[in-house]
């Protein structure tokens, strides 16, 4: 817990945010009588997320926790909170709304649907804690890993994935469960779990980083190719081809994210050739990568190639990127504005247009446009941009940041929000 605990009529609350990256942000604010904050006075709710104890593996003994400042008055105060900061007792299931949610699969589904991914992870802890491996629990594990990776809880994922080895333990095959599907052979591991297993090293340098991930991914490619060579009935063949494509897209993403843009572009080109129905999104991705390395010329050539296949909105987005690469922010802004006209729901065009306004020196207009986008999406990346602009505008950006905090916590899916993006 934090070490500050001063108490006056103006109390000092020290909140630390973050999961893996612990950014020390100390915050002092005046609360209460000076009217700076609306009634009721803010309370700091301590959320303790313990790394689950899993039967199947060793859990990371580090306890991860974070505290946040919230202004929801109807949240009950955690034990020992109002007189400074104390540690909440370890709880293995924690629901941010402080209602007890009973352990059930329909509630789990509900949590995922509401975007309460951290609660879902915690509930999965309970569900998987005493369960043994079977056809059902492997699917729960798949969900768990998907959520852990999304929440960037990589060390937990790494520890737990380790017990799955190379996804060829004997209890991962149908033959191990003769009662369930008699006579059926093959692996019970869902394809999504394989994808997650293969990309995980990229996020965990201790298990190999980029090369570890490429090893695993190309190992999977090999097996898929073997299956295709062996010959399969049409439906299954299509499914294998679909798997291979999703895998290669992941490989291209891993390469691009690690600075190997050229190989990523080459791979995307191959994907485009073998899956012509993906030619538009893949070409768009290639164009952006070309711009990233400064090869505007090739980006333009590729755009000219796919021009006829683009919708008007897609073309305007592409034109916007091209003009940003050429440094023509005014024209780029026009294109993004037209994209928003064609599709008012295109938040990305709105964001990109707002970025152009900044480069044109129109800080006020840029902020207004970002604030408009915030009404439709509270994506951390968007908020990150907006907070940067608040800080550029004024030294007194804190109240604006708290407004954002309010907006975030008024939604249901804030529990996994990376609040550090607000730089409070």
């Amino acid at each position: 817990p934090s070490d500050s605990g001063d108490y006056d009529t103006t109390y000092t609350v020290s909140c630390q945010t973050g999961y893996e990256l612990v950014d020390d942000v100390s915050e002092s604010g005046a609360c209460g009588t000076d009217g700076e904050f609306a009634d009721p006075a803010p309370e700091c709710i301590i959320m303790t997320c313990t790394v689950p104890e899993i039967v199947y593996g060793t859990a990371d003994p580090r306890k991860q926790w974070y505290q946040r400042r919230v202004r929801a008055p109807n949240l009950p105060v955690a034990a020992g909170d109002s007189e400074g900061l104390a540690e909440a007792p370890r709880q293995s299931v924690f629901s941010p709304s402080m209602q007890s949610i009973s352990l059930s699969e329909s509630n789990l589904r509900h949590l995922v649907k509401e975007g309460r991914l951290l609660s879902a992870v915690n509930m999965l802890t309970e569900l998987l804690n005493t369960a043994e491996m079977n056809l059902k629990t492997i699917r729960l594990w798949t969900l768990r890993f998907a959520l852990l990776v999304k929440l960037k809880l990589y060390s937990t994922a790494e520890v737990e994935m380790a017990m799955f080895g190379n996804l060829d333990n004997c209890d991962l095959f149908y033959e191990y469960y003769p009662g369930e599907h008699p006579g059926k052979r093959g692996s019970i591991v869902p394809w999504s779990l394989r994808l997650l297993w293969s990309i995980l090293p990229l996020h965990c340098p201790t298990i190999g980083g980029l090369y570890g991930a490429l090893d695993r991914m190309y190992g999977l490619v090999y097996h898929l190719d073997q299956a295709l060579l062996a010959g399969l009935p049409y439906v299954q063949e299509q499914r294998v081809i679909k798997y291979k494509t999703s895998l290669l897209v992941q490989v291209a993403g891993a390469l691009a994210g690690s600075g190997s843009i050229q190989p990523a572009i080459k791979l995307l080109k191959q994907i485009k050739q073998s899956q012509p129905e993906l030619s538009v999104p893949v070409s768009n991705a290639m164009i952006r990568l070309y711009y990233q390395v400064g090869n505007i010329y090739k980006g333009q050539c590729l755009l000219a190639e796919i021009q006829d296949k683009l919708t008007e909105e897609e073309w305007e987005m592409n034109a916007g990127f091209k003009l940003i690469a050429l440094g023509e922010y005014s024209e780029a802004y026009q294109h993004f504005a037209r994209a928003v006209n064609l599709n008012p729901g295109n938040t990305v065009a709105s964001i990109n247009g707002a970025v152009c306004l900044l480069y044109l020196g129109r800080l006020g207009d840029s902020i207004i446009q970002f604030e408009g986008a915030v009404k439709t999406s509270l994506h951390p990346m968007l908020l990150f941009n907006l907070v940067s602009l608040y800080e550029l505008k004024t030294v007194a950006s804190t109240s604006k940041k708290y407004n954002l905090l309010d907006t975030i916590t008024s939604k249901t899916d804030w529990e996994a929000f990376p609040f550090e993006c607000l730089r409070l």
Binding site: P190, Q250, Q262, P281, V293, V348, T394
Partner: protein, 406 residues
């Protein structure tokens, strides 16, 4: 790059700066979702709500969302330094005659970047209002540099107040350029330029051109016949990689002028233009590249004609060109010397008068040789005496020939 984040030091106005490197696309790994999985539909719902997810290629992490620059980053020689400067009235009072002036201080000079005369930008600024500027400057000096922002204003009491903020940054070297000259026997000159990328990101070379000096014409040898670059599919130089560019230089002088040129000759300049992140431009010109010309000597002997291949015991002829590079008449006498153990034997007179060679002119002579052994052999020693000055020139090896078996 921020000003002191605490209150503006008692001033009514605050100054904040953001370096405008190009916007970036930040990778964002989306939620992996498939409708066949447990809670698949719900996961797909969450994934699609994420604005950074790309339709159809869902697990690609580079979406379309741009982000504004987050930190100063590095700046390299030849790039353009671009910054957003914002002055905000943080107080509750209106101020008047606000002046914002920016200068750049390098190790050698101080130059204004904006508002050099220090004019007032606005006559009044109400609370909450701001003035801002985007300044651009092409960086032409290496090393530490200082951005100096000066703000002055008149407050409600009529006082004229001023404050200054300094932002230090370092200009680094983006490229390492090394040049090498190669001269062939036929007096063709080649220039090899090795360009190393010393930045941590990829650089797309837009143009690497040799702008020759008036003494030469340059041929760019970095393209194939069909216009394709010799670097093929490679789009960019990776960090720490080196690319070699080749140019052929042809002196614009006649043979006579050539023979008089000695010392250092200016060949030209390399003009390099590159693009990096999202089209960030950079441009550098090398200094004049110099080439050291070896003096040719008064009498230049070259082999004009020699068979490519000869068999043993097959007599052949060699044509030697004796060039007089001076402005005086030469009268030459030739002595041919046999090399010990050589496979070649001179045929005919080994001491003879060659004759007159006028100034700045040449004379060709035929020499006969009989090869007796196979192998690669030097033609043999040639001694030439100028009967006019009694000066002797010795040419130990003017050429070689491969002699095959009979």
């Amino acid at each position: 790059m921020e000003a002191n984040p605490a209150s503006s030091g008692g001033h009514a106005l605050s100054l904040r700066v953001m370096r405008l490197t190009k916007p970036a696309i930040v990778p964002n790994w989306p939620l992996l979702a498939d409708k066949k999985d447990y809670c698949g539909e719900e996961l797909i719902g969450q994934r699609d709500k994420d604005i950074t997810t790309i339709p159809k290629i869902h697990n690609f992490p580079y979406g379309e969302v741009l982000t504004v620059p987050q930190n100063f980053g590095s700046i390299y020689l030849g790039e353009t330094f671009s910054s957003f400067v914002n002055v905000q009235n943080e107080s509750q009072q209106t101020v008047r005659d606000v002046v914002l002036k920016t200068d750049l201080q390098t190790s050698s000079q101080r130059m204004p970047l904006s508002n050099p005369t220090g004019q007032a930008m606005v006559s009044k600024l109400v609370p909450g209002e701001n003035i801002s500027e985007v300044i651009n400057h092409e960086v032409k000096e290496l090393g530490g540099q200082l951005l100096v922002c000066t703000v002055s204003y008149i407050n409600t009491s009529g006082e004229k107040l001023m404050f200054r903020k300094y932002f230090k940054f370092q200009v680094l070297k983006p490229l390492d350029v090394r040049t090498k000259f190669f001269t062939t026997q036929d007096d063709e000159i080649f220039l090899e330029a090795q360009i190393t990328n010393t930045t941590p990101h990829a650089l797309h070379m837009q143009k690497v051109v040799l702008a020759p000096s008036p003494l030469y014409t340059a041929t760019d040898l970095n393209f194939l016949g069909n216009g394709e670059s010799i670097f093929g599919e490679s789009d960019y130089i990776n960090p720490d990689d080196t690319w070699q560019y080749l140019y052929k230089l042809t002196p614009k002088m006649t043979q006579d002028e050539k023979s008089n040129v000695k010392g250092v000759s200016s060949v030209g300049k390399l003009d390099i233009m590159w693009l990096s992140n999202f089209g960030e431009k950079g441009r550098l010109q090398s200094s004049q590249l110099q080439r050291l010309i070896q003096p040719q000597g008064e009498l230049v002997v070259t082999v004009q004609s020699i068979p490519h291949f000869i068999s043993s015991n097959e007599q052949f002829q060699v044509v030697l060109r004796l060039r007089n590079t001076t402005d005086r008449k030469y009268n030459l006498h030739l002595t041919l010397r046999q090399l010990p153990d050589s496979g070649l034997v001179w045929v005919g007179d080994i001491k003879k008068v060659v004759g007159e060679v006028p100034p700045c002119s040449f004379l060709d002579i035929n020499l006969d040789i009989l090869p007796v052994k196979s192998g690669v052999w030097d033609l043999g020693e040639i001694g030439i005496e100028n009967l006019v000055t009694s000066k002797r020139f010795d040419y130990p090896s003017v050429g070689q020939i491969l002699v095959g078996l009979t």
